[in-house]
Amino acid sequence: MDAILLVEQALNGLQFGLMLFLLAAGLTLVFGIMDMINLAHGSLYMVGAYLAATVATATGSFLVGAAAAVVGTAVVGMLLEVTLLRRLYKRDHLHQVLATFGLLLMANEAVRMIWGPEALSLPMPEALAGPVEIGGLVYPAFRLMIIAVGIVVAVLLYVLVAHTRLGMLVRAGASNREMARAMGVRVSTVFTLVFGIGAALCAVAGAMLGPLLAVQVGMGESILILAFVVIVIGGIGSVRGAFVGAVLVGMVDTFGRTLLPMSLRAVLPPQIAGNLGPALASILIYVLMAGVLFWRPQGLFPARG
């Protein structure tokens, strides 16, 4: 395995990890601050992708599509919080899981009714459709842009959480909700805002991944599972944990898929290696999660002391 391939795979892992982070960040904040399990988080990602695809196709501009998706999904998220999810905070987790699972099913059917069962395609911006060459490495321009967007959003989020008043309230809420409330924090407004931010992050991920994957009903479910893995690894409620966890999962998945079958082939007969390689590679991130749960049950960066 040469250096260029290693760098290319590292970029792939980073790109995947950063997109997971966008989803996990919202999920971990909602889970950590409001103690709320939101299974419909993936649906916001789906809504974001559909909005981006629709607006981008109608206007012919990917940028306009992405912007509309972010704003639209944030509004949908906040409306959802104000009308429905707010009532669930005090209920136990089982009720939350049931209600948000119902929401997820309804979202899927609603999308099917509005946009039809076939997958939509979200066209890549023309300028970024080809590859770029950086010192021997040929890499798709669009994926580089995704990495850049992911990093910028991560930095913005860090600044927001660590250096603003809203961030202080969020952190206070995450580490001790009751105390924050006792100190006079208007928790309900903070919650609505946090929910809107989470939804907007979902939409960013949806718009970025739309051209690479497919905009389809149920697209949120598989990625939601990975987002949960990320926040369990990173520590629930911690944005920093979500970042580290997401990049870790992205790297392990990418390198596992390529290195594992390769190294198995070196020691096993090809037939067995061929069967075992992909099977093992696909469970690798869950092995990682199990390992973290075993040695550090609170995750790598627990939000509560």
Partner: protein
């Protein structure tokens, strides 16, 4: 009392079974949602074309087509099949696109002694020792298109290849088929997850392996994404990409466009095959649906033709399994692919063609027929099939 009545009724049914049925019920289960929906939709639309032309009849019997979506999921398919068999009591099940769905639902169809006429998947599991009198493929045995591609890659002089396929039964069949006829070096075989849509890691691996050509079997939405990302990574300018007809047909061309021009692929059918039935099919399909048919559509059309001919030959006695089974085995119809007959394992013996994507004089990007790769080609498993003919 009720039990007795039911018993009497079923005895009465058994005695009338030798008479012609008054209608034929077809369970059409296919993949009609998600990234691979285009496949099922093309099969369905072409199937309906035949039914519609016949005035809603197949082989002279009024046809009731019950369409259900398996969502490409074996468990969803299983539930839908139970409903088709037990509640709707269909005579024939068809339309299944994906082998993993087929392998999950076929055992209960066979157990129920219902005919399964495949419009697409022709898994190896039902080709050799596991062949079944209730299974018929109007499409191909899973290895077929890939054998042709392997043969073509050898004659084209590619010394080394990397192979990619999803990790599921048809993916394994595909690479087995390719390797059976390919004489050069296989540098690497990469199995991806079924339904995988992001191929960044695999593309990096392919680039590093530096093969002379790459062969992919990625049906439906997977193929669209693979080829799009192949182009975005600049690989289309470095390595020739070869595919079976599935991954280089109208659905993929529509999504990818220009960069696919020049790509070779192999299939048992091409829209510009010169026989009269095919010209009629392509013209009618275009008129009805406003798009060129894919290889999937051609299979849906032939599946309907096969059932139509068999019902006619059986004189409508479709409830008599032996009569209908024999009729399906020997049915003669004008296949859009030219000559077509079924082997002892009910898998087709047929030609496979080389096609190349080009820009036709009107500027439309589509496939053109290049040459015949394999003539009257039987599958490699038929000799292991010991089934008693109907």
């Amino acid at each position: 009392m009720i039990k007795k009545a039911v018993a009497a009724a079923s005895m009465a049914m058994a005695t009338v079974a030798v008479q012609a049925a008054d209608q034929i019920r077809i369970g059409f289960m296919s993949t009609l949602s998600g990234p691979s929906a285009a496949l099922g939709i093309d099969i369905r639309d072409a199937f309906n074309l035949v039914v519609k032309r016949n005035g809603g009849k197949l082989g002279g019997l009024p046809a009731e087509i019950i369409v259900v979506d398996d969502q490409m999921k074996p468990d969803t398919g299983k539930q839908a099949t139970e409903r088709l068999l037990k509640k709707d009591r269909v005579d024939v099940i068809t339309g299944i696109v994906f082998s993993n769905v087929m392998l999950a639902v076929a055992p209960s169809i066979f157990e129920n002694e219902t005919f399964l006429v495949s419009a697409n998947a022709g898994p190896t599991a039902y080709s050799g020792e596991g062949c079944n009198p209730f299974f018929f493929a109007a499409s191909w045995q899973n290895d077929g298109q890939h054998e042709a591609a392997g043969h073509f890659s050898t004659t084209k002089g590619y010394k080394s290849v990397v192979l990619l396929a999803p990790n599921y039964p048809a993916g394994k069949d595909a690479l087995t088929g390719f390797k059976r006829m390919y004489k050069g070096e296989v540098i690497d075989e990469i199995y991806t997850k079924l339904g995988q849509l992001d191929f960044a890691a695999e593309l990096a691996q392919v680039r590093a392996a530096k093969p002379q050509a790459v062969y992919i079997f990625q049906p439906g939405g997977m193929g669209i994404n693979f080829i799009k990302q192949w182009v975005a990574a600049g690989l289309n300018k470095q390595i020739p990409l070869i595919a079976p007809g599935f991954s280089a047909d109208e659905d993929v061309i529509k999504a990818v466009g220009e960069p696919m021009v020049g790509m070779y692929n192999t299939a048992q059918w091409a829209h510009d095959l010169g026989n009269a039935e095919n010209r009629k099919f392509v013209a009618e399909f275009q008129k009805e649906y406003g798009r060129l048919p894919t290889v999937y559509a051609s299979q849906g059309y032939d599946t309907a033709q096969l059932i139509d001919a068999a019902v006619r030959d059986a004189k409508g006695k479709i409830e008599d399994r032996a009569v209908f089974g024999k009729a399906l085995t020997t049915a003669k119809f004008n296949s859009v692919r030219g000559e077509f007959k079924l082997n002892v394992n009910h898998m087709p013996i047929q030609n496979y063609y080389l096609r190349q994507i080009w820009k036709d004089p009107s500027g439309r990007i589509t496939n053109k027929l290049v040459s015949t790769v394999l003539t009257n080609h039987p599958d490699a498993y038929a000799s292991a099939c010991k089934m008693k003919p109907w």
